[in-house]
């Protein structure tokens, strides 16, 4: 009885290991611009995988802060020498992306192909198709949810050519959140919300945009909770693509992120 149970447990553990190994080989890692961020990810954001980026609160509907974070990552990724000549494909459900804003975040319009899908299934199918195509470095898709099956398919598509997927979870205005089944095949899951910025030089105007990043799942890494700022280059509005993010404050565990620490950091 006891040995039988042990055998079954061993078999189940082997199953879990096999399931966990759905992830294919990591094709390099993308530095987020700060060693503390990169260490939580095991050396940087793994490429050749797909990542889930969601918003919190109103951002789950508007999808502005998650899109900005994803655009910073995509810009840094396309700037790598091994991605020369590759494009980003941004799959939309609602046609409200504004390329001048993306250019301000470092993602040039001439390396971006926009696609407007008619429904959820089509958005996922296009994302899969694009990930498995040559000439595509990163695919950004705005979808309601990615279930386990769709996630596995995306992962296989990523492995085909080493493309990286950034799935932006966005729910329709006024609609409920998509049903989540729990499991996900994503390499990392992020929750992004805006954070109060520091005023610009001289205390006037707006500073560089800041986000609160919660890394809620990271395969082979730690979770985390940080406050980051878009790494700005020399000129106003010019983004530094080599260092997509600058760490402002490490909030650590969610429970320890007291409101007092928040305001001190801001």
């Amino acid at each position: 009885m006891d040995g039988d149970r042990r055998n079954r447990l061993a078999a189940l553990r082997a199953d879990i290991r096999r399931l966990e190994r759905v992830a294919g080989p990591v094709r390099g890692r993308l530095s987020l611009g700060d060693p503390r961020l990169d260490s939580a990810l095991g050396g940087g954001l793994p490429l050749g995988q797909w990542h889930e980026i969601g918003g919190e609160g109103a951002e789950a509907e508007t999808g502005a802060a998650p899109a900005a974070f994803a655009a910073r990552l995509a810009a840094a990724l396309l700037a790598r020498p091994d991605q020369r000549g590759r494009s980003a494909v941004w799959i939309l459900r609602r046609d409200d992306l504004f390329p001048p804003g993306l250019a301000g975040l470092g993602l040039p319009a001439d390396r971006l192909v926009g696609v407007c899908a008619r429904d959820e299934d089509e958005a996922l199918a296009v994302a899969e198709d694009a990930l498995a195509s040559p000439g595509v470095g990163v695919v950004l898709a705005e979808v309601g949810a990615v279930d386990l099956t769709a996630g596995r398919r995306l992962q296989l598509a990523c492995e085909a050519r080493g493309g990286t997927g950034l799935m932006l979870l966005r729910r329709p205005f006024g609609g409920g959140a998509a049903a989540t089944t729990g499991g996900t095949a994503a390499a990392t899951c992020w929750r992004v919300s805006p954070a109060v910025s520091a005023p610009g030089p001289g205390g006037l105007g707006l500073g560089a945009p800041r986000w609160r990043l919660r890394l809620v799942r990271s395969r082979g890494g730690r979770t985390g909770d940080w406050r980051v700022e878009a790494g700005a280059g020399g000129g106003e509005g010019e983004a530094d693509v080599a260092h997509p993010l600058r760490l402002v404050a490490e909030l650590g565990d969610r429970d320890l992120a007291a409101p007092a620490a928040l305001s001190a950091a801001g």
């Binding site: 502005a64 900005a68 504004f98 301000g104 696609v115 694009a130 195509s133 000439g135 919300s193 109060v196």
Partner: protein, 478 residues
């Protein structure tokens, strides 16, 4: 006025152009139907589309004629007579009476089709008979009206005793032109092939055409897919042999009941790979209604260009090719599946009005001119709402302070940082100066609320004590 009469009515002595009252007096049991010239014209166009199964070059000849250019196609029926017989049989099966003639020129075919002999069986004027001296009796014996002449010209000629084409052709050309005008001579020359005649084809004639006839009609999706591939194989082999690729393809399935169903395909780059074409057509084959079955398929290519394949370097054989060339298959797949308007690349446009500062082009279109960017010193939002949404409960100091608080989509936002204004006016040079109004001016502010969410809001119009201030939200920064 009678526009057309049935054979029975003609036998009873009725004729087109007769007054209705006269006709009714002659035959009290006359059945009348309103003439519908527009519907007739539409039916003729539909018939022209149907005729594509015989030749890609079909020109409607209103009110009741069709020209088919069958040069280089007739051998598919093993001869012109067989082809004409097939056409006649198919038309008869659909309940249409037709007079068919095949000749070396459009004018001669027109004349022969209207000869009495054509009413019973298709007429074929063998090649070489056109140039015969003297004129071949089939043509020479036809009345002058068969030359598509003005009725007035025919009457003047007949007063001189000229009633047959042969008589006209025997006359010296100089006096004929002087006496009856160049029109008569032109029609004669067109019929005899001395002068070329341009026909207005429904589709530009293309030499890149392939068709397959089936012994038995098919309707299963997998059969259609195989047909599509087979047609593509034939056409692409010819394209490839000439070193060309085409950008546009049109696939027509010809249904048993005569209704043509077709698909168009546009490629971002000229191509001649049959497998790729078949794959692009495949997802859309399901949208077609095969009706009672498909009995023929035709595929034609347009915008054929000479392919200039670059020398493939060794590295690209090992590594997948990068760059826009590598992206082309994906773009074609997406365009075929979603439609061309749903796949794009954005280009800057020199306009300070946000909605007009972006231009969408085809995803692989080469940018004309230098690919400049948008000015970096003008911060622009990541998401631009399709149309600005009104803000409610706005608290703002007049005349030009940014809002302190507003409500948008049932949420209250307290603003703690703001930047602006950036004044954006209408483009007065696009319309008359008198159309420009100060209430079209927008003052844009970038604002950040208590949570750090950033918005692009504007106040419309210049400050005016008599008018309530209106605020709008136009975009969201990430």
């Amino acid at each position: 006025m009678l526009a057309a009469v049935s054979p029975d009515a003609a036998a009873a002595g009725l004729f087109p152009g007769q007054r209705v009252t006269d006709a009714q007096a002659l035959r009290p049991d006359l059945v009348l139907a309103e003439a519908e010239p527009e519907a007739d014209a539409r039916a003729l166009e539909a018939l022209a589309d149907w005729c594509v199964r015989f030749s890609p070059a079909v020109a409607p000849d209103p009110p009741d004629g069709l020209f088919l250019d069958i040069g280089g196609v007739a051998h598919l029926w093993s001869g012109e007579a067989e082809m004409a017989a097939d056409l006649a049989a198919r038309l008869a099966r659909d309940g249409l009476t037709a007079r068919i003639a095949v000749a070396g020129t459009a004018g001669a075919a027109w004349a022969l089709a209207r000869s009495p002999a054509a009413a019973t069986c298709p007429q074929v004027l063998a090649p070489g008979r056109m140039e015969a001296e003297p004129l071949a009796p089939e043509l020479a014996g036809l009345p002058l009206a068969a030359l598509r002449l003005e009725p007035a010209a025919v009457e003047r000629l007949s007063r001189l005793g000229l009633r047959r084409i042969g008589q006209l052709a025997a006359l010296p050309r100089g006096p004929l032109a002087k006496r009856f005008g160049a029109g008569v001579l032109l029609r004669l020359d067109q019929a005899l092939g001395r002068v070329p005649e341009a026909l207005a084809f429904r589709r530009p004639p293309t030499p890149w055409f392939a068709r397959l006839d089936l012994a038995e009609p098919v309707s299963a999706p997998e059969d259609l897919a195989r047909l599509c591939r087979d047609a593509a194989l034939g056409l692409c082999a010819r394209l490839e042999a000439s070193g060309r690729g085409a950008r546009r393809f049109r696939l027509d399935f010809h249904r048993v009941d005569g209704a043509p169903v077709g698909l168009e395909l546009g490629l971002s780059r000229p191509a001649c790979e049959p497998d790729r074409l078949a794959r692009l057509f495949l997802p859309r084959l399901e949208t077609l209604d095969p009706g009672f079955g498909i009995e023929a398929v035709s595929l034609q290519a347009a915008e054929a260009e000479v392919l200039t394949p670059g020398q493939a370097d060794l590295a690209s054989l090992l590594e997948p090719v990068e760059g826009p060339e590598a992206l082309a298959p994906l773009i074609d797949r997406l365009t075929a599946r979603l439609g061309p308007r749903r796949v794009w690349r954005s280009r800057p446009l020199a306009s300070h009005v946000p909605e007009r500062s972006v231009r969408r082009t085809a995803a692989l279109e080469v940018a004309a001119g230098p690919a400049g960017g948008w000015p970096a010193w003008r911060p622009r939002p990541l998401r631009l709402l399709p149309r600005p949404e009104p803000l409610e409960a706005v608290i703002a100091l007049t005349p030009d302070e940014p809002p302190r608080q507003f409500r948008w989509r049932r949420r209250v936002h307290r603003i703690h940082l703001a930047e602006g204004p950036e004044r954006i006016g209408a483009e007065w040079w696009r319309t008359g100066i008198e159309a420009v109004r100060t209430d079209q001016v927008r003052d844009y502010y970038r604002v950040e609320d208590q949570d750090g969410a950033r918005f692009w809001v504007f106040r419309s119009g210049l400050h005016d004590h008599d008018r309530p201030v209106r605020w709008w939200l136009h975009g969201l920064f990430g």
